[in-house]
Symmetry: C3
Subunit: 346 residues, 3 copies
């Protein structure tokens, strides 16, 4: 249950730096590689000669050369050449619209005629030199919507991430969810509290005291199909909170790109963008390491949840106020899928 | 194919000492934990909020607190509280009758209205200070009845456990099987033989000579649903065998609690109770280690047997005299299951 | 999709040297062992007593004794004895025609009445002392015909085995395929080229220069059901190529016996027979090691190809001139299978 006529993060440039990459996205097995002039390309991971996985091959002069018998595949899914063969009548494979932007490779797994690169959302933090970004990738055996739910309800931090970013006050603070066009926003503000360990580290990293009360905020933005960007931060208490002068706060954006692999698994691109000390590579590395551990804590919870839901398919889950972010996000996804599947969809 | 309106061993107290335990029993996914005043509790391993596995949570003040968003589950399967929520209308989950007795946690996976703690069989060796017990747990990928068959026909010792408790005389001694109420008893007596390695060790452990002939016995008792207690021992030859004065014999009870997990797998709680040198902890440990190795030898045989039976479902197996114990035990189980499934069962 | 009324390589003698071997062949689970006087035997790997795997047992006096309760199985699939039992009425299991020849154990998984040992093809290199043989066994998760395709189209060497036996000239040389009776022969000759690394090693091993041009040949012979023997070699250029005097060439036979396990997996017995320096055991070992690495390179390609074909069952594959060897081999196999399945087959 996922829309296909939309852009998903497929991989990062380092994953195709040394050769092609085979990755399944929305049920499509795709080989990603750098075509002519280094431009990224994506074709079905299936050699029309004998069905070998093209991603096991090599890139030669911008063509993806099958590692079995040397068929050379072009970026458009048409066969370019094969040793000793006339390839004019050879069947091709599907190619997929693909874009490299903001430090990610984006793929459109649905109808290529509908692909429009301008629909990739602008990511200011990815292009503004005052921001730094660090992140990673996890493969998770649960459907992608469970991860969206997870990120749109941060009360789980208190239970899953108690030693880093969780704190009792998250549960106690009221949460508000609203819809703005195709976005779902759920936010929570906590005033005059002590910062949890992760944020104390960030305060120190930004030369601020970590033993005084702070105001803390979490603003989760879902944008379809599966991006959750979360503005998070703490400011010294009483300085204006979210709106405080940069001298008194530490803030960043938790970046989550959630890409379906199959109906029951997904690729989770996680990271953090920050606009303080953007050139401090050691800080980027230490935040990345800490975040990797925190997000790893979610995996067992989510994969066991997936199994439970498969075991009890008839059970209705609760939809509480804290779940509103996930519930609204699912509604938008359901509409997108319904629209795609309508008879006159295109 | 297992009765559910009956008591099964679910786990041992050490398994819930540091937190909840998730375990599937008779197809039911169950979270075990210690409720108020340390009393053991068992509820479905499914959080009614979003389906997370409750067993990944923590026990707080006798409640099982979900590790995802903090829903607190009571011992009775009713939701006690959740941060920021009124839980009065929340659906609950099933709770299971559960008892702690004889050093084990017992669960009744069927109709709770029928559960009666007095039906847990008395285990004298577990309460009498003149006895010591040591044991362990194996997870085995075969249906539980294959393990019952295994334990009710000890001729397999000669082939599977040749280096410890097996000896040719087991095959040669006549075996007798009888039914006493709901018990199946199969027994074998061997006179004037040399003890195999395991029993020579036990003789020495009890300050008896290990190089003289002995009389050996094996009395297997099946009690439904899946307990096999085996009286085993050796006495110096001619001193009365099973009835010999304790000074001349070494005897113990092999304890086997066999709990179905699914139709094709089970939990095997194995151990040995002895009434000699009960306070010798080193002896307990060494017997436990030896027994663990011996019972590990059965696993490959049983798991391959399970696969063979699945591959050839139409083949009829033989039912020889040596198989009578298993055959009779299966009849009792079949009756129990038929009774449960009858229209007017309850 | 495999013929069963035919001889397949089942195992090598070393695999049954220390006890029975359980191996699935053409869907049949078979226990191989040495019966009376060391003669090889093959029976269903299923004990008629309780379904245990006979291959977990021991061979005693030419009988296969079940490792569970001691039933003794004869080479003909009839029960010989069991401790304390009269076995006259015991059901037996299937036995399979089996032959030991040419350093391999051959099995006939189909109708035993049709088995004829004279139909095992003569292998001159296996009986002639001027030849040496070294080889190994891989288990591969793809249907056996993909391996036949692989070996009947050696253009893959250029891509899969680029660092050992592959070279661009293979692609460029014309290939010719013909059928001779029940054999498919596909051959390729390359003249005045430089030898690739594997053959340079072989030239040096045979005291020939490795830095001068050579003529190279590859003659692949498929004989049903699944034997591919490939004559390969290089001769100093201009000395007659394949027909050159032995002083000027290095040649050998790549030996491939491909035995179906299930519809989607097979056992691959690979090796090389050579008629130079046949008594040089170190050379045999080094060729074997090199060949093992080369053939290991095919495994990932083939297993991924199998998965791709399962994912896209409706796609037609190309049948190019280079594929003719595999295509013709498949036709012969299809005829054999059709003949077996015809109503009046036997």
């Amino acid at each position: 249950m996922f829309p296909k006529n939309t852009w998903y993060v497929a991989c990062t440039p380092d994953e195709i730096a040394d050769g092609p990459l085979g990755r399944q996205i929305c049920g499509e097995k795709i080989a990603f590689f750098r075509g002519p002039e280094g431009k990224v390309a994506a074709v079905e991971d299936f050699c029309p000669h004998r069905g070998a996985a093209l991603s096991l091959g090599k890139v030669v002069d911008g063509k993806l050369v099958c590692g079995y018998h040397g068929l050379a595949m072009g970026c458009n899914g048409k066969v370019v050449s094969m040793p000793g063969q006339r390839v004019g009548g050879f069947p091709g494979v599907r190619s997929f619209p693909v874009e490299e932007r903001y430090g990610f490779i984006w793929v459109w797994p649905g109808d290529p005629a509908l692909a429009d690169a301008s629909k990739i959302h602008h990511l200011e933090w990815a292009v503004n030199p005052e921001w730094a970004y660090g992140g990673g990738l996890y493969h998770i055996n649960c459907e992608y919507r469970l991860m969206i739910d997870n990120l749109m309800d941060l009360t789980h931090e208190t239970y899953v991430h108690g030693s880093s970013i969780g704190q009792k006050e998250i549960d106690e603070a009221p949460v508000a969810t609203r819809i703005e066009g195709e976005e779902v926003i759920t936010e929570r503000f906590m005033e005059n509290i002590m910062a949890p360990p992760f944020w104390r580290l960030a305060l120190r990293g930004n030369d601020l005291p970590d033993d005084v009360p702070v105001d803390r905020w979490q603003i989760c933005r879902f944008t379809a199909p599966s991006h959750v960007l979360i503005e998070v931060g703490v400011a010294l208490a009483g300085k204006g909170g979210y709106h405080a002068d940069p001298r008194f706060k530490v803030s960043s954006i938790v970046v989550d790109f959630i890409t379906p692999e199959t109906e029951t698994s997904h690729w989770y691109f996680w990271g953090m963008a920050r606009n303080f000390k953007p050139h401090d590579a050691a800080l980027t590395a230490s935040i990345r390491e800490g975040q990797g551990k925190i997000f790893g804590e979610d995996m067992e919870v989510l994969e066991r949840q997936q199994k439970n839901l498969e075991s009890y398919p008839e059970r209705k889950l609760l939809m509480l106020n804290i779940d509103a972010g996930g519930v609204q996000s699912r509604r938008i996804l359901a509409k997108m899928v319904a629209k795609e599947q309508a008879p006159n969809a295109a």
